[in-house]
Amino acid sequence: MSIAVASGQPARRRYRLRRAIVEAGSIMLAIVLLIWSLLPVYQMLLIALDPEEGEIEFDGNIWTPEPSLEGFRAVVTQEARYLEHFWHQFGNSLFVGLLTMVLTVLIGSLASFAVARMRLSKGSLLTNAALLTYAIPASFLIVPYFRIMHSYGLSENLWAVIASQVTFATPFAILILQLYGSFVPFELDDAARVDGASAVQVYWRIYLPLVIPALAVVAIYALLLAWNDYLYAAVLLAVRNMTVAVTQGQLFSDTDAPWNAMMAAAIIYVLPPIALLFALRRYVVAGLTMANVTE
């Protein structure tokens, strides 16, 4: 008995030491990741809280001596230069983002349902072809889009941007929905059909509720794609009808911009996707976990 205790002691000590090292390493990594993730956010906040119109030069202060909400006030009242139409542009961004989200979820789920669940013969041709969309990276089609939207009568129209975003989000939606949908037992569909449910009822009452986690992933993905888009909005929209992302892009070459207000606007612009991500977080985790392919 005493021998066992004696030989167990160093092993336990080594185990404790290793645990401590792992723990310390984790904390170091966490600090690095924190700085890495937050540096631009920190810069945004630092400038947004500046009482002066602000500048982008770093003056050595880690925190603004007198933080003020002046920048945010200038955004809300649309007083600052570049931001005369902020709420209109914000509305545009929301409109484009939400419609991209809804249309991607709808179109993607309908197509996946017909191909994977109703087993439409040759339907897989379409879902395979969908992936070919990515052979042509999004920014490569901007010139043809610019011309084509004219011929479709959609020039300088928000719907042109929505169409482009739905086009590039749906293939990913179909991919995720097909991967996830394969976990939903077919017997459920068949049982419902025997009970006399129509195809639409099976889609609406059985398929959609069962793939909610995948739909949440798709929704977040589509919203963020549209929210992140700069190129399509910049090229396809008129100056008076911009989205917020494009307005922010103008800062690239202007040293004299109202910096505090622009950064305050940037912070406001980040909030909607965060809210959505937070609201859907449980579903997103479940959806991603299930839809993952492992060999």
Binding site: S124, I136, F140, L141, A163, F252, V270, T289, V293, E295
Partner: protein
């Protein structure tokens, strides 16, 4: 119209069978068949109106061989190709590898690691344009980065955007910053699905830490890793915002990638056909990547 058919004809051989077709297919009955067609119709319409037609249009615009001769003759084209290769090659691979490693870190069950994950995904949620512009100004003369360098280390930071390689390096870093969280979450989800028993068994056999990763985790994730890398490659080639708003292609257009070069040709020098030709010159490389991606999807097995 003929260009559309051409495109279709060229694409057909690639589309083989569905990856996840369930066993025991049967023919759809009359009304079901009509419903299925109706369900597929919206996407088919989007695909033809917004993918096939614009793509055919692009091929038609950039169909003249003389455009490509002009492109090669342009002195900014070859450096742009090199930049694109570096941007995509380094950006995608470093990002994916770090994402895979970090997913292991976020797997640990500690409340503060969970909280950190919430902060870590912020870059993905912040709009690309804002993040890139923010980085652009942070790296200017006396911006935050040089300010911190001189305050903490006493170094005078260089003018980052006056040097081609430094500027391109920052483009890549910002790109990794922006997109690593998305892939980390994907890998994290995959790793959460690996049953604990496998690790318990490995531990009994004496595998710990790095060995566990090399011999247990990575083999299980190889397929997903390849899939994600291929998909990310395709998306990254099309990334316009990062280079356009971080280095702006500067100094003197030396950090342009194909996406921004095409944009410059089309909208700054008003030569749309040349712009389309510039981006389409990447197709010979991209199409094999897509074919590889589809093969991967077909062979991948989905398990519960």
């Amino acid at each position: 119209m003929s260009s559309m058919q051409q495109v279709l004809a060229a694409w057909r051989p690639v589309s083989v069978k569905a990856p996840l077709q369930p066993p025991g297919r049967r023919h759809l009955r009359g009304s079901d068949f009509r419903w299925a067609i109706a369900f597929v119709f919206p996407y088919a319409a989007v695909f033809f109106v917004f993918v096939v037609y614009p793509f055919g249009y692009a091929l038609w615009m950039a169909g003249r061989p003389s455009l490509y001769a002009e492109l090669i003759a342009d002195r900014s084209y070859l450096p742009t190709v090199v930049n694109t290769l570096l941007f995509v090659g380094l950006g995608v691979n470093v990002k994916m590898f770090l994402a895979l490693l970090l997913s292991g870190f976020f797997l640990r069950r500690r409340w503060w690691i969970r909280a950190l994950l919430g902060i870590y995904v912020l870059p993905w949620v912040i709009a690309a344009a804002q993040a890139c512009v923010s980085f652009h100004w942070m790296l200017q003369g006396q911006g935050l980065v040089n300010g911190l360098l001189s305050a903490l280390l006493g170094i005078d930071g260089p003018a980052w955007f006056n040097d081609r390689w430094l500027a391109l390096g920052w483009d890549i870093i910002v790109y990794i910053w922006k997109w690593m969280p998305f892939w980390t979450v994907i890998f994290l989800a995959a790793r959460m699905k690996i049953p604990h028993e496998i690790y318990d068994a490995a531990e009994v056999d004496g595998a710990t830490g790095a060995r566990c990763f090399v011999y247990v985790t990575f083999p299980l994730l190889t397929n997903l890793y390849l899939l994600c890398t291929l998909l990310s490659t395709l998306w990254t080639v099309g990334d316009f915002t990062t280079v356009y708003l971080v280095s702006g292609g500067g100094p003197g257009g030396s950090t342009d990638v194909l996406a921004t070069l095409g944009f410059h040709y089309a909208f700054d020098t008003a030569r749309p056909a040349l712009g389309v030709a510039a981006v389409l010159s990447a197709l010979p490389v991209l199409i094999p990547v897509v074919i590889l991606l589809m093969r991967r999807l077909e062979t991948s097995e989905v398990e519960i």
